[in-house]
Symmetry: C2
Subunit: 301 residues, 2 copies
């Protein structure tokens, strides 16, 4: 974990950028703006923003250069999409969860109507942030298409719909993988690809980044299922054991704990191979991306 | 109404473009995609898309030129944002409405989780459509910022939040106007402005278009309140008399029927004045925009 200080600096950087992007809660409508800030600011892992920065760095961006401004906008945008999806997924009609990041979910802390609007407004804010990125307009347009595609029915929303339809019914491993590829994978992939797009990466490099994102998303999800089965709520910061209680198929229910751990090891090896073009180049540019991959596999929450 | 055939052609044009943009319901997740199409396709007024085309035409666009392709994307995008907002506004935790455009609302025809996801995915699809517009990237970026700003907490979502907070409490006319300016006005304004942006309008022209949009939005809302108070559900295509039943302040509850009608006359005059730069130019370019203004004031549903 040689890049720990870099990752910490990026985390602080995106937190500041998020606080700047979100409307002040002194601005009307105050409750909505306060709830938007509540949903986003605080103790997030910021995995997707860190992937944006790390992918940019893998293409040779200096980790502290002011040219990172465009990456800030992409980092903010992807975290806002992620945050909105959590707010809506937690709603009573969806996963009905009361605890998130160790705090009451938005519809508990405020109310259901506010939570719906918070999610809706955060999605708009994400595209506003990205459209305002100080980068060539063609690169911004490409990043916008990447994010919109990954967020919509062919990506995250589609995955959530498949997840809802699956609940309580036995699934094949293949169906589970498809669901996760859309629900979680698409946005993680988009984070890595957007970092490259805003750095002007060529199509072949973007495809290599996309493969890193895809493998990283898969590793992240298997680890998530393992954590849900293993951890207690206090460590996890959200309600543990929910998957089993809701009759959801997971890598653990389908493969068992040992089987899921073995699958995660396999994916970690594929991920290493996907990272090779960015870590074998004789310089340290890909280090942060590689460290984030390790974190996705080894994290405790 | 000299431009009736033009408006009908545009309506058919945006309906076709919407049907093309939305994922086929044979594509997984099928229920989500079918519900997205259900929410959007069918008997909409398409006011906002028509405003996009009309604003483009007011700046000299030939109403049938293939150069209208970029306007198609903006027209689709704004209608998708409008459609998503209706789906979410109709949810039980929001306005709790069972009837929309003469048909069961999405959460009635499908279920609540699907309706939440339909709205979320339609918003993403809107930005995907606009980001894909065949126009100079800088113009697309400006249109995206306009739409994202109008859709978010400083626009439509903010207006809906204020509307929810107002329900059941007496309001001043000023508070009501602010709420509507955000909730309905922002998107109508964005429609007119986007048409200009994609035609490369200069800042002064964009401001003149913005004023048309603002006045048109206000007229549209006063008329909406009048229709809700006057019409029956069959004519309106949605549940009539809802405003009064929900204890909402409207132009009718605050001004009375005659007062609201008088206010609408005043706004119609202001709207005529705002339209002057586009109708006094000795050519017919502004005719459709002017006709849409008349329709907003005189419509029966």
């Amino acid at each position: 974990m040689r890049s720990k200080a870099t990752l910490e600096a990026w985390r602080a950087r995106v937190d500041e950028a998020l606080a700047r992007q979100l409307p002040d809660d002194a601005l009307e409508p105050r409750t909505l703006h306060a709830a938007m800030r509540y949903a986003v600011l605080g103790d997030g892992k910021r995995l997707r923003p860190l992937l944006v920065y790390a992918a940019g760095a893998a293409l040779g961006a200096s980790p502290t250069a002011s040219a990172e401004d465009a990456l800030d906008h992409a980092a903010v945008a992807i975290e806002l999409v992620h945050a909105y999806s959590l707010v809506h997924d937690d709603l009573p009609a969806m996963d009905d969860d009361a605890l998130r990041r160790g705090r009451p979910t938005v519809h508990i802390a405020y109310d259901e109507a506010t939570a719906i609007l918070v999610g809706d407004a955060l999605q708009s804010e994400a595209f506003l942030a990205l459209a305002s990125a100080p980068a060539p307009a063609e690169a911004v347009r490409a990043a916008l298409r990447e994010l919109a595609h990954a967020a919509g029915s062919r990506g995250m929303c589609g995955g959530q719909a498949i997840d809802m339809a699956m609940t309580g019914r036995a699934q094949s491993l293949e169906a589970l993988a498809t669901m996760h590829r859309l629900k979680t994978g698409a946005l993680i992939e988009a984070a890595v690809v957007m970092g490259g797009v805003l750095r002007g990466a060529d199509p072949a490099t973007l495809e290599a980044l996309r493969r890193v994102g895809a493998m990283l998303g898969l590793a992240f999800q298997i680890k998530d299922d393992l954590l849900d089965a293993e951890a207690d709520s206090a460590t996890l910061g959200k309600t543990a054991g929910k998957d089993e209680a809701q009759g959801k198929s997971t890598y653990v229910t389908l493969l068992g704990l040992d089987g899921a751990r073995a699958r995660l090891d396999d994916v970690a090896r594929d991920l290493d191979a996907a990272l090779a073009p960015f870590t074998d180049s004789g310089n340290d540019n890909g280090q942060a991306l590689s460290d984030l991959a390790v974190m996705a596999v080894r994290r405790s929450r």
